[in-house]
Structures are given as structure tokens and as C-alpha cells.
């Protein structure tokens, strides 16, 4: 994979403004226009606590290689106004090379922002906009950015006119507004921070992680979903609802999360691959029902889009702190599948794989995504159709009972027992969360308990998960072990370290449970130092690694809670200091 090696390979732009100023629209249009001519990109939005309106920030990073983080610093901070903009100061690190472009009439920039040493240039965006009929300052600003980034104006015009057409904006006037900004940016020609060359044209997708996960579910064959809304997972459900309708499936909003997962189990028991979508508090509520899916061996997928915790926490911000609950949050010995997406577009593969594994192994699968992956828009390559990741299939009992009693929980070699679907004559059985014998009859006998515990563990252990279980990049005596969205900054840091002559191996685990200690050991053969990177306060991932894997050599941990992302520079510093 082609990666970002130097901060110069990319351009990071932040656009801030108060409610209605259009900073988010400007950011989106910038991303889309760049994507259309072959760039990669990432856009993340951040807003204040108000339900509607209030200050908003668009963070856009564009590059000639896939973008998995917002980098270390922003090259440009464009302020449509300064209203409450200081709340974003932590999210938009600037340095002396950064450029602050501000509306001239907006007054003094907040002192904390100026403290970065960045150069300030003011522009009369509002009065320029007033000079054009229907002119808007955010579109003027886009024109400014186009010149600064050497981005063709006509691409911006295409995306802007398409996006704004339902508002009835006139294309010629739009063009004029953009041009006004472009011309006004002449004074910035000394700062031109042109994008590096675009790698290729026309192969790009634009999607959020939540959309990607929904599409992965559809590709995997999911045709029923039951959900309860929760930030930041609701948009996944909303995107999926209408698409499920189109493919003949159905999404139902349940009365709560417990109902949602029970509906999923009911539909799945009926033979339809099914899923639910939630975030921390909702996953907590599903814990009892997940245990039922384990014991009764019913496939089910739960996509958990993590947010800041504990409790209601920080619903609109990202954190990797539901790991423990996903791995261990069920009562009893309840082996199940836990997967994690490590890029926006990987939300697709991880979810599709989860559907496949859940169906193949008759077991619930939790997919961990997070607010950053789920709600960031990525311009990326068309998500790979990984080998073998097609429509999921389940081992169905075709003529159950034809050769005697049908044993739903038969002890087979690989632990997977053919499942009779309701409607099939001779396959009648009662799925049960009580411990049972092979036939499904409740039993408290030690031998039955042991046999079924073994079966449920072994079916997961003996399955061949193939290469998808982890992404491996590079080589060296120094390895970084990471998971989920922390992979983006780690990859970038590793690429930079390599450019500086330090060999670094990166392992990003996609399959978190069942654990793969032999495979990890093989991959870590020869490694002397391991850096563990994660976005949690209590080193949950490191605890998990210690519990289940033998990590070689010296170990360090770089962990940090949300809401701020881990930056490549922080990882790079750790790597370089450790030479």
C-alpha cells in the first residue's frame, strides 16, 4: 500500500464557522472536487454541543496516497468567523508554517489560536460575497482554497452546482462567486501549497465508515436489521434502512436495544442473515442477549460504533474504549467473534466478514468501528472485494431427521452442527439458552455442559480465518501492534520512520476474538521491541494482548483516551526515540 511518507505529501485544511456559515459544506465540496480528479482524502466534522446550529469545523486532508488520519498539523485554518472557534483549538493543531485565513471583519482571532505562531492573512470574504448576487462567503472561501491548492476551479464548480442545485442556486453566479475568491487569493501566491500530483483519475469512492459498514452487511447478505437510534451509529441505520428496502429487506426501529437484538435473533433463527447497529450504552444493554446467541448458536452481527465513554460519555467523539466490553462483556464462558475495522473503507470488509463468520460459525459477531471511522468521509479506492468475501452461507440441515433423531447441537468434528430452518419437516427443535444436550434438551449434567462448552469454543478455534485476521506491513525488529482507527496514524508514522531509515513492522488486528497466538508469534518472530498503540485510557488493548499473546522483547504502550486522535508524530516520536 502506497502511504504518506512526509507531511509534505498531503495538505490539511480546517474550515471553521458558526452555525449556518457553511464550513461543513465548503469542506465536503473541497473533498469531493479533489476526489474527482484522483486525490485521496478524508474529512471529519466537529460541532459544538447545540443540537442545531452552533459552531462547526470541517477538517479535510488531501493527498496522493490513502489518508488514514488528519496528520500532525493543519496547513490552513480558514475561519468564516471566530464565533466560539476556540473550542476547536485542540482539534486543529497549527504551527509556524501554518496559514490562518480569516474573514477580515471577524475581529481578532482567539489568542490561543495565534499562539501557534501561524501566519494570519485576512480576506474580506463577506464583502466579496456581497459583490455577487446570491454570493456566499463559504463559496468565496472555496475559490480562495482552489487557488491556494492549485485545484481546478471547474471541478469545484461541478460539485458545488450539483450539491447546491436543490437550493436553486444559479450555476453562473456560483462560478462568479468561486472566481471572486480565486482572484482575491492572488495575495496568497507566495503561499501556494499545491497538492502533490494526483495518482489516477476516476477510480475513487466517497463514503463514510458507517455507509461502508452498511454496504458490507448488504454484500454479506444481511436482509433484516433491527436497531435503536444512538449517536454515532444512527446514520448507519438510516443509510441502511432505505437500501434494505430497495433490495427487499427490512430495517425496523425497535423500542430499545434489547428488543433490537432479540428481533435480530428471531429473524436469524428463521434463516435470514441479520444485524443490529449501536454504540457503547446500547451494546451494554445487548450483553444478556448476546449470551443467548452464543448458547443457542444463532448467527447475529452487532456493529458497535464506539464513542467516548464511560456511560453517556462524549457521544459525538471517538474513542477505542469499548474493547473490553466487546471481548469480555458476556456472562458465563461465552466465546464469540470480535472484529475491528481499521480504515473507513475497511468498515465494509470487516462487516462483510463478520456476517460471513457469524453465519458460518453460528455465533454472534461484534464489529468494532468508532466515531472517527464511522462518521468521517473518505475518498478512497473502491473497497476491495476480498477473496472469498461474498454472500455468507450457513450450514443448513437439508433433510433433518431423515437418518434418525435430528440433533440440533450435534457434536461434530469442527463443532458446527447443521441448523434446521423453521418450515423444514423433521428438523423441529427448540433453540435454548439453558445448557442442553446435543438434541437441545435442557441438561445440567457435567458431561453435557462440558461437551457443549468445548463445542462452542472449538468451532471458533478450528476455523481457518485466512489472511484477513490481521494486516501486516513492513518488517523490522521493531513492531507496532495496533487495532482499529489508531491504525491510520500508526501506518503514517511507520512510513515516515522507514523514510528515515528505521525498519518498522505494523500489525493491525482485524480479528480480535478468537485470539490467534500462534499466528501472531509467527509474525513477531525476530521482533525485539513492540510498541502497542491504542486510544483508551486504561490500556485495554495492551491488557488484552498480555492476557492472550506472548509479546516478544521489550514492550511500550502509547495510549491516549479520546476525544483527540492519536497523531502520527506522537507515534513517530516513540519509534525514533527507541532506536
Amino acid at each position: 500500500m502506497n502511504t504518506l511518507v512526509s507531511p509534505m505529501d498531503s495538505v490539511a485544511v480546517a474550515i471553521v464557522g458558526s452555525g449556518g456559515a457553511g464550513s461543513i459544506t465548503a469542506g465536503s465540496l473541497l473533498l469531493e472536487a479533489a476526489g474527482r480528479i484522483g486525490w485521496y482524502g478524508l474529512m471529519t466534522r466537529s460541532v459544538g454541543p447545540q443540537i442545531r446550529g452552533g459552531e462547526a469545523l470541517a477538517m479535510v486532508r488531501l493527498a496522493g496516497a490513502p489518508v488514514g488520519s488528519h496528520g500532525d498539523h493543519f496547513d490552513v485554518l480558514l475561519a468564516l468567523d471566530w464565533h466560539n472557534a476556540d473550542r476547536f483549538v485542540d482539534e486543529v493543531p497549527l504551527n509556524a508554517n501554518s496559514l490562518i485565513l480569516a474573514e477580515a471583519e471577524a475581529g481578532e482571532p482567539p489568542a490561543v489560536i495565534m499562539a501557534s505562531g501561524a501566519r494570519l492573512v485576512t480576506l474580506p470574504l463577506e464583502s466579496l460575497a456581497e459583490g455577487v448576487e446570491e454570493g456566499r462567503p463559504n463559496i468565496v472561501a472555496l475559490g480562495v482554497l482552489a487557488r491556494l491548492l492549485a485545484l481546478p476551479l471547474d471541478e469545484l464548480l461541478i460539485v458545488a452546482s450539483r450539491a447546491l442545485e436543490r437550493k436553486g442556486l444559479d450555476v453562473d453566479l456560483l462560478q462568479e462567486t468561486l472566481k471572486t475568491g480565486y482572484d482575491a487569493a492572488e495575495i496568497l501566491d507566495d503561499s501556494i501549497r499545491a497538492l502533490p500530483p494526483a495518482p489516477a483519475r476516476g477510480t475513487r469512492w466517497r463514503l463514510t465508515g458507517n455507509e461502508a459498514a452498511a454496504l458490507g452487511a448488504l454484500r454479506g447478505g444481511v436482509r433484516f436489521a433491527a436497531v435503536y437510534p444512538i449517536t454515532p451509529a444512527t446514520d448507519l441505520s438510516e443509510w441502511l434502512a432505505v437500501r434494505l428496502q430497495r433490495v427487499g429487506g427490512h430495517l425496523i426501529q425497535a423500542e430499545d436495544e434489547i428488543a433490537a437484538l432479540n428481533m435480530v435473533l428471531g429473524a436469524s433463527y428463521g434463516g435470514i442473515p441479520s444485524l443490529t447497529v449501536t454504540s457503547g450504552p446500547g451494546l451494554a444493554l445487548m450483553s444478556e442477549t448476546l449470551g443467548l446467541a452464543v448458547a443457542a448458536e444463532v448467527p447475529a452481527v452487532v456493529v458497535n460504533v464506539m464513542r467516548g465513554g464511560p456511560s453517556t460519555g462524549i457521544p459525538t467523539k471517538s474513542e477505542q474504549s469499548d474493547l473490553n466490553m466487546a471481548l469480555y462483556g458476556l456472562h458465563g464462558d461465552a466465546p464469540h467473534l470480535v472484529l475491528a475495522a481499521n480504515t473507513v473503507s475497511d468498515c465494509l470488509s470487516a462487516t462483510q466478514w463478520a456476517v460471513q463468520l457469524a453465519e458460518a460459525l453460528q455465533c454472534p459477531a461484534i464489529v468494532l468501528s468508532d466515531q472517527f471511522l464511522g462518521q468521517s468521509q473518505s475518498v478512497c479506492e473502491q473497497p476491495v472485494d476480498h477473496d472469498g468475501l461474498g454472500v455468507a452461507s450457513r450450514l443448513v440441515a437439508v433433510e433433518p431427521g431423515s437418518a434418525g433423531r435430528y440433533d440440533r447441537y450435534a457434536l461434530t468434528d469442527n463443532g458446527i452442527s447443521p441448523m434446521a430452518l423453521p418450515g423444514t419437516p423433521g428438523g423441529q427443535y427448540t433453540a435454548d439458552g439453558l445448557e442442553h444436550n446435543a438434541h437441545g434438551i435442557p441438561s445440567s449434567r457435567a458431561a453435557d455442559h462440558r461437551a457443549q462448552l468445548d463445542k462452542r469454543r472449538d468451532k471458533l478455534l478450528h476455523y481457518d480465518y485466512g489472511p484477513l485476521w490481521a494486516d501486516v506491513e513492513g518488517d523490522g525488529e521493531l513492531a507496532v501492534v495496533v487495532w482499529g482507527s489508531a491504525t491510520g496514524p500508526v501506518r503514517e508514522a511507520a512510513a515516515r520512520a522507514r523514510a528515515q531509515g528505521l525498519a518498522v513492522k505494523v500489525l493491525s488486528l482485524r480479528l480480535l476474538f478468537p485470539v490467534q497466538p500462534t499466528r501472531l508469534s509467527a509474525l513477531l518472530a525476530g521482533v525485539q521491541r513492540v510498541l502497542v498503540v491504542e486510544q483508551s485510557h486504561s490500556q485495554q488493548f495492551y491488557g488484552y494482548l498480555k492476557a492472550h499473546y506472548a509479546l516478544p522483547g521489550e514492550i511500550r504502550v502509547l495510549n491516549q483516551p479520546g476525544p483527540l486522535p492519536i497523531r502520527p508524530a506522537a507515534v513517530l516520536t516513540q519509534l525514533l526515540q527507541w532506536r
Binding site: L215, V247, G248, I258, A267, G271, G426
Partner: protein, 279 residues
């Protein structure tokens, strides 16, 4: 969405009984409901494999394994959403829910009111013994306030509610009450409930001889409703408002809009959706 047609005309009640021996106490009211269900299914000629019996946890919720149908003995209180998911995914099946007063009205109360409202086609039997049998004698939402028990010495002091009134208020379209001692009576109501296209609730007074031995007297207290089934909501409200809780019969049966969507054949290709994501 249509109900499966009888394909075997010669099914008898015993064809629905499995080989699993009930754990119920001798004399438990739940036996009567089990046998009434078998009679109803036989009468309807529904092949056992076309029927799914979904339950939660409780003595009552043990029913699925005692039938020769498909079954799911899920977790406490959650049978209704599970049955909802199943029916939406598999509209061809006949879905019956077996529950108890604790399972349906206490921990499962939220799913109960929402199932009433949502109107997915299924039959919900609540075996009401006004006690938690399985956990050995605690009060449920239908237990009288002064029932003395270990966990609430002297009684809870909380008035029981009428599940049928709550169901009516929540939007259920088929509301009936039976008595487990009257197997044929329940069987008949079940036939009508299963045929009813929507959410049908049948509360069955089912004595717990072990923890509420006084309920053996129910036999003397139950009495059939003197009024015919009504399709008028306000009328049903009036009747249930005046009801003593011991009347049996189908009180209310109305035509209501069914939950509209299920899983069906695809009407669009996934490709079309994927294309929308390309720049």
C-alpha cells in the same frame, strides 16, 4: 403474509406433543394450556414444522420444548421481539408466543406494549398465575397487593393492573381471556387468535398450585362473558373497565392495519447502490 394452508388433514393433538417431559408440578395450570394449544393446532391442521413457539423464561416459558413445533426458549421477558423478528423474516410461519405474567408484564412489559401497538401477526399466550412460579413465589404485576410472601412481607401494597386494559390502551386488536381448566374453551379461542391477522393476546388464568394454592378456587370464580365480542374500541374499553378479571371470552377483535413490511424478494440490485458511492 398469508397463513399456511392445511396440507395434512389428519393431524391430531398428540402429533404436536414432543417426548420431553414437562418439569411442571403435578396439577399446574400450564398443562391445560399445553393441551389446548395442541388441540387448536390440530384443528387448524397446521403442520408442526410450520409453527414456531417462542418463549422467554419461567415455568410457562418452558412450553416450546414440549411441542413438536419449532421453538425458541430465549431469555426472560424478550419473547415478543424475538417473535417479531422471526415473523418479519419468515411471514410464511405461524408464530405463537408462550409467556407468563412475570415474563410478559414485569421484565417484558415494554415489549408487551410495543407488540400490541406494532401489530405483527402472531398469537401471544400469557399464562397468568399471578406469581413468579419458576423462582419460587414472588409477586408479579398481576398479584394482589396484600399477598404475603418472603420478598414482600405483608404484600407489596401495589395494585395489580389489568393486562387486557393495558393491551387495549396500547393498541392490540385481539384481546381475550381464558381459564386453563377449560381446555376446549382455550383451544377455541386459540383457533380464532391464530386465524386473526395481527397481534392476538390471550391471557389464560393458570393456577400455580405450588406457590398460590388458593388459586385452585379459580375454577369456581371464572365465568364466561355474557357479552359478544366487540369490534368497537370505546365499547371494549368500557367493558374492560368494568371487568372483574375473572371473565373469560374474546372481548375485542378489530381490523387494524398490520405492520407493513417484511423481508421479501429483492426489487433492486446491490450494484445500483454501490454505484452511488463512486465519485
Amino acid at each position: 403474509m398469508g397463513k399456511p394452508q392445511p396440507i395434512l388433514s389428519s393431524l391430531e393433538a398428540k402429533d404436536y406433543k414432543s417426548a420431553v417431559k414437562p418439569i411442571w408440578c403435578p396439577g399446574c395450570g400450564h398443562f391445560g394450556i399445553e393441551s389446548a394449544l395442541f388441540r387448536a393446532l390440530a384443528h387448524l391442521g397446521l403442520p408442526p414444522e410450520q409453527v414456531a413457539v417462542i418463549s422467554g423464561i419461567g415455568c410457562s416459558s418452558r412450553l416450546p420444548a414440549y411441542t413438536e413445533c419449532y421453538g425458541f426458549h430465549g431469555i426472560h421477558g424478550r419473547a415478543l421481539p424475538m417473535a417479531t423478528g422471526l415473523k418479519l423474516a419468515r411471514p410464511d410461519l405461524t408464530v405463537v408466543v408462550a409467556s407468563g405474567d412475570g415474563d410478559a408484564f414485569s421484565i417484558g412489559g415494554n415489549h408487551f406494549i410495543h407488540a400490541c401497538r406494532r401489530n405483527v401477526d402472531m398469537t401471544c399466550i400469557v399464562m397468568d398465575n399471578e406469581v413468579y412460579g419458576m423462582t419460587k413465589g414472588q409477586p408479579s404485576p398481576t398479584t394482589p397487593p396484600n399477598w404475603d410472601c418472603k420478598i414482600a412481607p405483608g404484600g407489596t401494597g401495589v395494585s395489580p393492573f389489568s393486562p387486557l386494559m393495558v393491551a387495549l390502551a396500547s393498541g392490540a386488536g385481539f384481546i381475550a381471556r381464558g381459564f386453563s381448566g377449560d381446555r376446549n374453551g382455550i383451544a377455541k379461542m386459540l383457533v380464532e387468535a391464530i386465524r386473526y391477522p395481527g397481534f392476538a393476546l390471550l391471557q389464560v388464568l393458570s393456577p400455580c398450585v405450588t406457590f398460590r394454592p388458593e388459586e385452585k378456587d379459580w375454577r369456581l370464580q371464572v365465568h364466561p362473558s355474557e357479552l359478544p365480542t366487540t369490534a368497537n374500541w370505546a365499547e371494549a374499553t368500557r367493558r374492560l373497565a368494568a371487568d372483574d378479571g375473572m371473565t373469560t371470552g374474546i372481548f375485542y377483535k378489530a381490523e387494524l392495519p398490520l405492520y407493513p413490511a417484511t423481508v421479501m424478494e429483492p426489487i433492486d440490485q446491490l450494484n445500483a447502490i454501490e454505484t452511488e458511492l463512486t465519485l
